[in-house]
Amino acid sequence: MILKKIEVNINGRDYCLDVEENLRLIDLLRDKLKLTGTKEGCGEGECGACTVIMGGKIVNSCLVLAFQADKSRIITIEGIEEDDVIKNSFIEEGAVQCGFCTPGMVLAAKSLLDKNLNPTEEEIREAISGNLCRCTGYNKIVSAVKKAAKLKRGGDGE
């Protein structure tokens, strides 16, 4: 196995790493860096549990090879602020059940709200359409994102 040297910024920290050429970004995050908040639900880009933000956009980390991430900036769930309103809204709205989809959902919501602080319900549903949840039926997740948007706009979220 040939190793490839990559430089990557993850959650604000610079890493210089030797990676196997067929290593996926998700394996790099989980197995090598122990950033296990990124989950693998399907390995085929269908479920979105492995969602991370790469270069400002959400991607499935199971469908990116680690060497492709060279010179990029990545944000995982561990890189989200401790008191982020999206996370709190998820907790308060009951949008978290088994929790396996939650990190990906939070990142998909963040990616939406970073661009659009006043999303319609349709836009919220579109933004999380690449993230499967088997517990909630999505409604509470949608309310959580709505609440977070309102809080970010300066409302009280009610």
Partner: protein, 292 residues
């Protein structure tokens, strides 16, 4: 497997001429990574073009709109150069997978994988797109409609890569419509899709029509018989209905013996009509024929 991240197109062509078919181009990787993991693809080298600016982005020249093959679906959706008469191309790009897939997946991958269900191929066919293909020291152009050879196989030599997709920028009275039938809203592989490029005059006479279908044959293709029928006719409910009937027959013939023949040939009528009306709407700015 060797992983290569070339700095420019020249390097890509160099590697391609060295490895030929043993090297696979990877951009979004949304299909290729799954295939490699399943053992269906086993390339000696992977050449990553996902961050090569030369192969990314959308440009307008005097006559053409040019799209780099490593342009992602999201970039197509968000591009302001693609005006509203090209809505069908954006609609197709927006219908791909999910936000995550659209942020990685590229139009070049959509073409080169030659999947029958590739979402952006029917609109590009209806636009009569031309592909620019390059190898070390060589360059050629081929119409997209002549590119596909079989399911999953396009006409690309081992040392060549797709470097550009181009089509004529539509005029005011021209429009590109798209419609896709999937099993659900997100992450649905196309069951059936149509793209229609239309030009009509003030009398509603069809000057130019190009119709392309997806997920019906071995690869997306033009529906020439229906195009021929419609060309020169005044567009109204009658002609649309005639065209639908003709399409149903053509598709049933093509799929004969397959279980899906009956369903697809009937469903195609509705999907085609929606794409046609979408195109008409763009030409006219109004939709005269959709009743309800």
């Amino acid at each position: 497997m060797e992983a290569i991240k070339p700095k420019n197109l020249e390097e890509v062509l160099e590697y391609k001429s060295k490895y030929k078919g043993d090297a696979k181009i990877i951009a979004g990787g949304t299909d290729l990574i799954i295939k490699i993991r399943k053992g269906e693809e086993n390339p000696k080298a992977l050449i990553d073009i996902s961050s090569l600016n030369e192969l990314k982005g959308i440009r307008e020249t005097l006559e053409y709109i040019e799209i780099g093959p490593a342009t992602t679906f999201t970039e197509i959706c968000e591009c302001i150069l693609l005006n509203k008469n090209l809505k069908g191309l954006k609609d197709a790009a927006r219908s791909v997978g999910s936000p995550q897939i659209r942020n990685r997946g590229t139009v070049g991958g959509n073409i080169c994988n030659a999947s029958p269900a590739a979402d952006t191929v029917p609109p590009l066919l209806a636009l009569d797109s031309i592909l620019v293909i390059e190898g070390k020291g060589k360059k050629r152009e081929i119409y997209l409609k002549d590119f596909f050879k079989d399911k999953g196989r396009g006409e690309l030599e081992g040392d060549e890569i797709l470097t550009k997709i181009k089509f004529k920028n539509p005029l005011k009275n021209q429009g590109l419509g798209f419609y896709k039938l999937g099993l659900r809203k997100a992450l649905a592989i196309s069951r059936l899709s149509f793209a229609v490029f239309l030009e009509i005059d003030e009398m509603n006479r069809i000057e130019i029509v190009r119709i392309a279908s997806g997920a019906i044959g071995k690869f997306p293709m033009r529906e020439l018989e229906v195009e021929e029928y419609l060309t020169g006719r005044i567009i109204n409910e009658n002609t649309i209905e005639e065209a639908e009937t003709l399409l149903e027959r053509v598709i049933f013939e093509r799929l004969k013996g397959r279980q899906t023949a009956k369903f697809k040939s009937i469903a195609a009528k509705g999907v085609f009509k929606k794409a046609l009306l979408n195109a008409l709407y763009l030409c006219k700015g109004v939709n005269d024929f959709e009743k309800n």
